[in-house]
Subunit: 508 residues, 2 copies
């Protein structure tokens, strides 16, 4: 059966077991694997590595596009295979290994990893392991449900292992647009001028002589862990819709809005989903991961085109979308994450970027990664690539977390991923603050009034009042600025009287 | 005499006094003025505004390129003319008004201001006031020693006041390259592929009907306040040179390096100056402000070409360079700051960006703006435009400030302008830390060992050790993370025993 998938016949002799292919990977190597937000990861070789690590010393640097599915990051972390891991992850077991210092995690803007490899400021990549639906007659590798960093890994690595996944529909071929920027300083402009611009090849061009092994697999992508919209995420979407309507009325946006980007996770997905019941139409997306909401918007006739770097769906949506791929295909492109997230393109297209915060402060600085200022959640991902260069940079979060014991609006964020300069709007279920053109003191008043949960509003106002008395462009009571986080760590709550905000009262 | 400067004859009737021109500016207006890092600012009209504010209510929003010379920001602040000020300043009196909350200051990435005006997310600009050497036959405005935001101000404003400065040499004409990006989402790539790319017009194209008044002036630009290199800045330059040599040896850089950007201020100027006595050659600059060091490098035969948005020189250098402009001109371009700082171009050219920190923390986060986390110094300026998109992002600072009572390396920065993700190297006179590809725990060890002043090294190590015991990807003793700043505020020093680091001991 894999004959029609490995179309270059002289490569068919390279088909081996995962164990055999994995043997090409030696202790201490740097390995670049496909996989982006649980889509299109190599599935068999990493399992074989974890298995091998039971009986022999094996530690590698693992670079991917973004997070892996099928519990691979968990399996690899628990097998202690990972010495270093970059540029993103979202697995609880790996997170634990990172936070206890076992795995050195390099949290990077997703557009930058291959730039650093290409200029040899990191690396080199010894071996690339790439999931593919096919190898073409020329030896080109056709990726599956994600492109991520696969193209540059395959081009830069000394050897390439290809996992041909027979469960991934052959119809994926033609979806990808592989374009690799030239070397600097002699680089040319990236010729994308719209989400639908096709500028590259439908496969990854590699010297077939570098393909060292081919493994046949059948395991499916894991489904997305995103939860369906709830009352709070619907409220967030509602505030944002109202804002967009206002911008249209002011003539600053049309009803087509601008190309949309939405971050990973439950909240961003819900916000995008919320656009279904609005007057906006003929929308486009220039994003990173295409979630359920992208296809809901297609089906609702709201979306004209979507460009991303991966497709990550819930189990139910997966069942519907993948067989229908030929129908969706002409309105979809998957690109290398360097291109989907490229500052040049994001700025040029004028993207509306919607990303998620763990917490933000009264001045609009954003923490998306570090719980309590110290413990890594997932990583900055592409949020910085988009927020810095967006036409409109939006950050969303629920106003509280952990049953209300944590306020997501704080005096000072305990870690900064996005500075006040890169944040135009912040939105919680309580309301929206439009920070454009405002000085820090003006932002503080608006954020406290519009976005903070009522249970924390007075404490924030009190902090701000006392900070103001000390003066400064960005007033703070510096010895108290992180006291909410210190208290959370000590008492498990940011509340003076923990009982006053219960899950109950929040739901009401 | 101004006949040859106002070459379009029908505009000559518009010549009026500064007071008369200033009367076009009404209370409450938004005014866009030329001026970038003390170069090429409109000089007469703002003085007339300050004068008028003595006798009538007059508050405006003042937008410029960057900082103004000739004490204009001081004069305007002290006359209480400024309600809002953006996107940058560097004047002690204005700084005071900002920090006490009298002036609302919007601290912005310098590439973004006109993007926000163009999309009407800020503004509108009622009047532009632009210093020029000439108005062409077509009515085009030829700027003087800076372009800054002048082109977009003139194009977007309803009315334009031109200050023809007879002291600015006519030879400035031909130096400028005015290119304005098209509207989004239908924008085309910016066709710059090298520092010397010329892509626009040598003047600002405006409808001559919008020119409402012309004022004749003769005041010179003020000279730069940059101090000459000292032992510490020379040491910083030395560490960086050594690093570049190492990169050349590794084959990651050539002896031409990559196009250079250097931030404002004494330290960045000194670092650039330090390249004179190195083997590097045929260098280029793609920067923002061209300081003395640019011309020193030209004269030393080290520099082939320099692109910037302004020329800001010491008094001595001014005397030499301006008369010799025709000789330098073919190797110089001045661009709109949107273009000199554009993420698209910065990333494409692969710039080495050298910017200055007030302080950085053990994990490589940078504070360039807020003293003690609260009080604005100057603003983020273009540092973010460059640092985020650079090939190599370098931050420099002396290891201590205020006679050694302040450590510039701290457990946690009190304000973040540049996150760990945007910082490749940090350098003090003590040494250099190469952070590329390192996780936070690895960075901390390197920064403490290589960059911290010996007087603070043990205290930093002690903090880090105790933080490590608590775990986390970025370990902190959260309740103590800002205690160094709290102490400074309370006791005027970060030292346990202030006497132990004196100016004396630091100089030795
Ligand atoms: C920030 C981020 C973690 C939010 O994820 P989400 O699924 O939308 O949001 P949730 O509200 O479900 O929060 C996820 C978890 O963080 C916790 N959390 C949220 N806010 C918190 C806070 N202020 N303090 C502590 N924990 C918090 C939640 O309780 C939840 O914990 P659980 O998994 O134990 O239930 C996620 O969007 C992210 O990793 N972003 C950074 C990368 C990024 O933006 N990439 C997109 C670019 S395309
Ligand atoms: C950071 C910046 C203020 C440093 O300026 P500089 O002239 O090179 O450096 P100096 O060491 O002389 O420091 C300037 C002042 O800050 C003070 N300072 C430096 N570090 C400090 C610290 N950690 N805490 C408090 N004050 C500090 C110095 O004592 C000095 O004070 P003074 O003016 O009262 O003498 C300046 O580069 C800046 O504003 N940068 C931000 C904008 C930018 O980078 N633009 C360039 C992009 S092109």
């Amino acid at each position: 059966m894999h004959q029609d998938r490995v179309r270059r016949s002289d490569l068919r002799d390279l088909v081996v077991s995962a164990e055999e292919a994995a043997r090409l990977i030696k202790d201490g190597m740097t390995v670049g694997m496909s996989g982006f937000t649980r889509a299109g990861e190599a599935k068999a070789v990493p399992m074989a590595l974890a298995e091998r690590a039971r009986t022999e010393p094996l530690k590698i640097t693992l670079i991917t596009g973004a997070s892996l599915g099928n519990d691979l990051d968990k399996t690899l972390a628990e097998a202690h295979v990972l010495a270093r891991r970059l540029p993103f992850q979202s697995d609880p077991a790996l997170r634990k290994a990172i936070n206890n210092g076992e795995v050195m995690f390099i949290d990077q803007h997703l557009s930058e990893t291959v730039e650093l490899l290409r200029s040899r400021q990191m690396g080199p990549v010894d071996i690339a392991v790439i999931e593919a639906v096919a190898i073409t007659e020329e030896g080109g590798i056709v990726p599956t449900t994600s492109v991520g960093n696969s193209a540059s890994f395959a081009i830069l690595a000394e050897k390439v292992i290809v996992e041909i996944n027979l469960s991934q529909p052959a119809a994926l071929e033609g979806l990808h647009d592989i374009y690799i920027p030239t070397h600097r300083p002699a680089r040319e402009p990236i010729p994308i001028v719209a989400p639908q611009s096709r500028i590259g090849l439908p496969f990854i061009p590699v010297d077939p002589g570098k393909i060292a092994a081919i493994v046949i697999t059948t395991k499916l992508d894991s489904s997305s862990s995103v939860l369906p919209p709830d009352a709070e995420t619907r409220a967030i979407a509602g505030h944002l819709t109202e804002f967009f309507l206002h911008e249209v009325k002011k003539g600053r946006l049309t009803e087509r809005l601008q190309p949309l980007q939405a971050g990973i996770g439950t909240i961003a997905n819900a916000v995008l989903h919320g656009l279904i019941d609005t007057p906006f139409h003929n929308l486009t997306m220039y994003s990173e991961v295409l979630q359920d909401s992208t296809f809901d918007l297609f089906d609702a006739g709201k979306l004209d085109f979507a460009s991303g770097s991966s497709i990550t769906l819930s189990a139910a949506k997966y069942q519907v979308v993948l067989p229908e791929l030929p129908r969706y295909k002409q309105r979809l492109i998957l690109r290398p994450q360097e291109i989907s997230n490229h500052p040049e393109v994001v700025r040029r297209l004028g993207i509306i970027g919607i990303n998620t915060a763990l917490e933000f402060d009264i001045y609009g600085n954003i923490n998306s990664t570090h719980v309590g200022g110290t413990h890594m959640m997932n990583g900055i991902g592409g949020s910085g690539d988009f927020a810095r260069n967006a036409y409109l940079s939006v950050f969303v979060t629920k106003s509280t977390a952990k049953d209300g014991f944590v306020s997501s609006v704080v005096p000072m964020v305990s870690h900064v991923d996005h500075t006040e300069h890169d944040v135009d709007l912040v939105v919680t279920e309580i309301g929206l603050a439009d920070l454009r053109g405002l000085a820090p003191r003006e932002r503080a008043r608006l954020i406290i009034a519009n976005c903070a949960h009522p249970a924390y509003r007075d404490a924030l106002s009190d902090y701000y009042r006392r900070a103001l008395a000390r003066g400064g462009h960005t007033p703070h009571v510096i010895e108290e600025a992180l006291s909410w986080h210190a208290k959370l760590r000590e008492c498990g709550s940011m509340q003076s009287e923990p009982a006053s905000v219960s899950a109950q009262s929040l739901a009401g």
